[in-house]
Symmetry: C2
Subunit: 766 residues, 2 copies
Amino acid sequence: MGMNYDRIRDWILAEDSFDADRLGKCEAVMSLGNGYMGLRSATEERYLSETRNLLVAGTFNRFDEQEVTELPNAADLTAMELWVDGERLTLERGVTENYRRELNIRTGELRRSFRWTSPKGKTLRFESRRIVSLRRLHDIAMTVTVTAEDDLTLKLRSGISARVSNTGSQHFSEVEKRFYEKKTMQFVERTTQSGIVFVLNAVHRFFKNGAPLALDTDVNIEHRIIFADYMIPLKAGESFTAEKIANVNTTRDLDNEGLTLPELQERSRADLRESEAIGYAGLAEESAQAWREEVWDRTPIEIEGDEKSALDLFAVRFAQYHMRVFVPAHDRRMNIGAKGLSGEGYKGHCFWDTEIFLLPYYMFTAPEIARKLEEYRYLSLPGAHRKAAENGYRGAMFPWESAWLDDGETCPLYAGTDIHTGLPVKVWSGIIEQHISADVAFGVWQYGVISGDTDFMERFGYELIMDTATFWASRLEPGTDGRWHINDVVGPDEYHEHVNDNAFTNYMARWNLQKAMEYADRLKTENPALYARLDQKLDIAANYPLWRDGADRLFLPQPTAEGVLPMDDSFMDGEYVDLSKYKAQDFVGGILKDYSLEQVHHMQVCKQADCLVLFYLLEDQFPPEVKRASWDYYVERTLHDSSLSLSTHSVQACDMGDDAMAYDLFRKSCAIDLGPVMGSSDAGIHAAACGGIWQCAVYGFGGLRMLNGALRIEPRLPANWTKLRYTVCWKGEKFAVTVTHEGTQLEKLTHGREIELTVNGRTVRI
Amino acid sequence: MGMNYDRIRDWILAEDSFDADRLGKCEAVMSLGNGYMGLRSATEERYLSETRNLLVAGTFNRFDEQEVTELPNAADLTAMELWVDGERLTLERGVTENYRRELNIRTGELRRSFRWTSPKGKTLRFESRRIVSLRRLHDIAMTVTVTAEDDLTLKLRSGISARVSNTGSQHFSEVEKRFYEKKTMQFVERTTQSGIVFVLNAVHRFFKNGAPLALDTDVNIEHRIIFADYMIPLKAGESFTAEKIANVNTTRDLDNEGLTLPELQERSRADLRESEAIGYAGLAEESAQAWREEVWDRTPIEIEGDEKSALDLFAVRFAQYHMRVFVPAHDRRMNIGAKGLSGEGYKGHCFWDTEIFLLPYYMFTAPEIARKLEEYRYLSLPGAHRKAAENGYRGAMFPWESAWLDDGETCPLYAGTDIHTGLPVKVWSGIIEQHISADVAFGVWQYGVISGDTDFMERFGYELIMDTATFWASRLEPGTDGRWHINDVVGPDEYHEHVNDNAFTNYMARWNLQKAMEYADRLKTENPALYARLDQKLDIAANYPLWRDGADRLFLPQPTAEGVLPMDDSFMDGEYVDLSKYKAQDFVGGILKDYSLEQVHHMQVCKQADCLVLFYLLEDQFPPEVKRASWDYYVERTLHDSSLSLSTHSVQACDMGDDAMAYDLFRKSCAIDLGPVMGSSDAGIHAAACGGIWQCAVYGFGGLRMLNGALRIEPRLPANWTKLRYTVCWKGEKFAVTVTHEGTQLEKLTHGREIELTVNGRTVRI
């Protein structure tokens, strides 16, 4: 019941029963998209509990001064409501049989079918299909087919409805709505604050028993809605198909630059006519072709093994599917939202998730996309400078949450409720979760090294690394011990706010300072012209001594006598709590039902253990015995209440040689969205967890890692896998890695220059 | 099935079955209110098709420049959702028995009950009660009682939700939300443009088997919502009751003037504590007492007769009920919306409906309310002056649609769709439906005469009549015939736009000009001080000759040879169409499904026959044979596609001596909201039709009419009525009229000065 995995070998995720009160799960995990837009998979018929989202990347709007900017929920195109002899088709009533919904991740097509008998006793079979075209970024296409088993009259209501909001906040003003030639519906709306105009078009084609059917229409243009009702009498055995071809354009789109609104209205209608002529089947086929070319043929991954491994493989591909659905590969002015484009959660904002969890996938498989994600950071520098200045610092202080380029910090001030005071809880991350600036620098460096993209580094990369180093130099606070400290921060473990000398933050800050010096030193000799340009822009001459002083004198938490690296200056003084109750819960955040966040701050409880993330990123900076002792210590105290936690812990478990735990955490990571538990994906899929799944497979079991500029492969294949094969892009070349329990084979797929790497400690050149 | 009238003799309107797709009817006709606020009777559990409205009179807000100001839908307090062993209680699933919802119009209490068995087979009985207090204008109180027939665990979710909108337009920004002492929820929101702050409080009391019960709570404060979940295990036979006491305050309220927001937050919580201490039963009793004192004991009406007459009586009382629910008796800065406070239709705006359809009831039964409704017009004068100036006229040109005092014209520019072009249809009423200015003057005069309120006339009334006369004088256009004309208008019959010399408009304009002259002449001699003041303000000296010239030379349509008064200069040239198809339809506006409004303009079709409205208002200005010929002519051509049409035609039918038609139209008028047809009240009840029902009974069958300043009574009792008794306020005195088929009795109820009236042509003094 619920999620069904019986066709995962056909790349199909299925749902085999329907619960009108638990819609969020499949709406999110089966969501469609192409990076330009994300379409939550709400059903054709409407339900009270639905969340019907159409999100276009980068079209942020701010409802009012109290709210932060968010990705607005555009007018809905997907609702196609049916009445059968006057009774509304809703699976809450009547009798539903053979219910099935399937997402084919290979083709990006969603299908749904069931047999339904109305309360009055009329029976029909329902089938629908839907795509968001990966070939034509503006296109959505869908079909609904009803086959009557009794004589009945169908009413179809379909149109465009802007009576949607983001949990009540309305981001759009109506501009124009029109029904052209009794055929094409056009709805034009404009975001209230950012002024982005959306033009949505929809046209219908009808078929009876497969033959084209002309239907007279009763159009309605009302407040925020345009729709038509179609009446279709059917005899038993007859079938009716409605195709709905739609497109979405905005004035923010690069490919619409320079167009006036009337031109855009006209051109989008012309585009629609072209897509209408192709029809659903053709559009679906060309989109499936794009999925093959862009994703599956380009970055294939294979896992062989026992029955469980089939689900493992599906999980990795499911992650790849969503990593294409939600990545704005077409436009570097946007980034990846924490919930992708599959829900309103986290308001479409991007976090450190991009660099630490998602970037690895794109760096190693689609470097041109990775580059765009980091160019976004470069284009966001004005906001980072403003945030630094507002906080009394210098350089680039990246926002904890980012939206549009010049928005700056977009982290909300309040969220949730304090169980004691009844007041909303202040979100400190936007103010003091500062490690993001080092994370960005780390991502930039990783991308630069792995891609070998010197053009990127020269135009954007060095500057980002130096500008963030300047931030850190300005951020340091003197201590009575003669060292620099970083006080009053939140580390990745958000269960401890206002801590001093968070290990993750301090080590990453030092890394950032050192990397800036390293590049400055190198450029000074190797590329003096670039150095001079950067010096003029960033005043390297004046900042370099500050970087050096910062790196040299920055306090770094040191291991205890037992070898445990303290997370910060207070964690180990906290109260020890038995977490078994919360670890046994099938939902996250349970501890906050018993304790306020303020109380949790004083307990030895990690949402995710940020020391372990640190070991993962800077693996060579800590001796094995410290990693081991810290691992044992923190694992016990970690609740994995962040979806980010499982995958880094899985990879780390591989590094620790704890294969059982590595596989267990990998599977738990896969289950975050893909698992049978309903509710957890309501606000959208967990984008970073998708990156995490791929990292578990390729970084963890596949053993791939870039360390100090060099590539190494040290696989640890799970016992139930017999083979893992993945492809890697490295400095412009591409090769495949095949891991079996017998050994590791490399196969070069491009024919450029030779590359060197280490496989299980042995240097290999291919 | 559906509406049920079996308890109308107990003042109870009932619904005996439930259809989740046809909720609007009972939401509207069973809506609660007290003039300060209107609460649409949405069910405790939520449904997809619901419209959950809480409207506070006069709190208009404009979403954006494209939309007109509207009464915003405030945060919801009424939803109380239940889960039974994890299954959501919704009547779309499981088995519902003994469904019943009842509105008691005598007490203003709504009750609802049913027996429900969940899909899993757990059975319970549900009962709810709800009031909007007529004693405490800010208070809403409700209870839900569940009696378990099986052992089960109930989950109750209740709170305050601002995730509501007006068909998608969000009028509120969040300000603050808080849970005080784990008990009182407070939600503060502010209208986005008008800046009105709403403070909503809610508190719960729980009982198990009648005894107080303390429940621990799990509070949630999320975006635009605050709610708590309560878990209640029940054994078979046990009952659980949740009382929810809530209040609503705004910074626009007169009784909150001078308070800071923190003071208002604090005081409203103190008020809530007081109401909480009283509890639901006490609050309901004191509100019922207020209904008795304010409405039923004060303006009683009685009808005796056959079985049908019982429904007739209920219909009149139902109209009285709503006329108290929606009238802002507490605040003269507001007026009556076309849908009262029972829905979003017509956006809370007031129209000529106030003066022509509603004012008679208040004038004759509650003059202090009637006075406030007309003072609203006086306070709106700046907007009327602005509208005149914007259109190149002088004096007071009243907006076709009015909202807040200084909003001016609030008629939307577009509504509906042209079936041929697919474009929205322009609404001309706001620009050229100009008779409203004469209607306002007419209402002012009627109130002044009937109430004998010289204070009102001296402070507001004369000025309004003269200022509108000045508008008319400036509005007139010269014709080649040496007469003045009023071209390019819409009369009350909105099926003909852009007509010239609309009879209703021209005759009413002349009446207005003449009335201004009459008062100017009188004041000059009888009250020279007032005359001087008005002359200074309105320049009577300069305007009087223009009034006179206008009245003397205004073209007035004259009867044809057959005695038919032409509606305008083109109606009779229009195409004659057989309307039987549309007259047989059980919905209105059917003709617009076959013809565009532009086509209808050229047809002999009336939405309502405005000549007949004219005969009704200015009954002595037309000879009986013209009225008769016109009646025969127009009745055939009238679709009654305006809810205003039936009642005036019914009264007119009484005047014509067509008793059968009079009674038939009266019953149809009653059925507009009260009848069994679903759907027609979705956007709210028809306020003017409520006034119309009362007019049918008292003006039509009761024969009451003020003519040229004198009161006359000429009853025409329907054959199936044996007795009609109503009370009348006349110049400060009050008397009862008892009509039987034997004759008419008067009974003076006050003991002031003697009054004189004509009863069936005989002068009577009491």
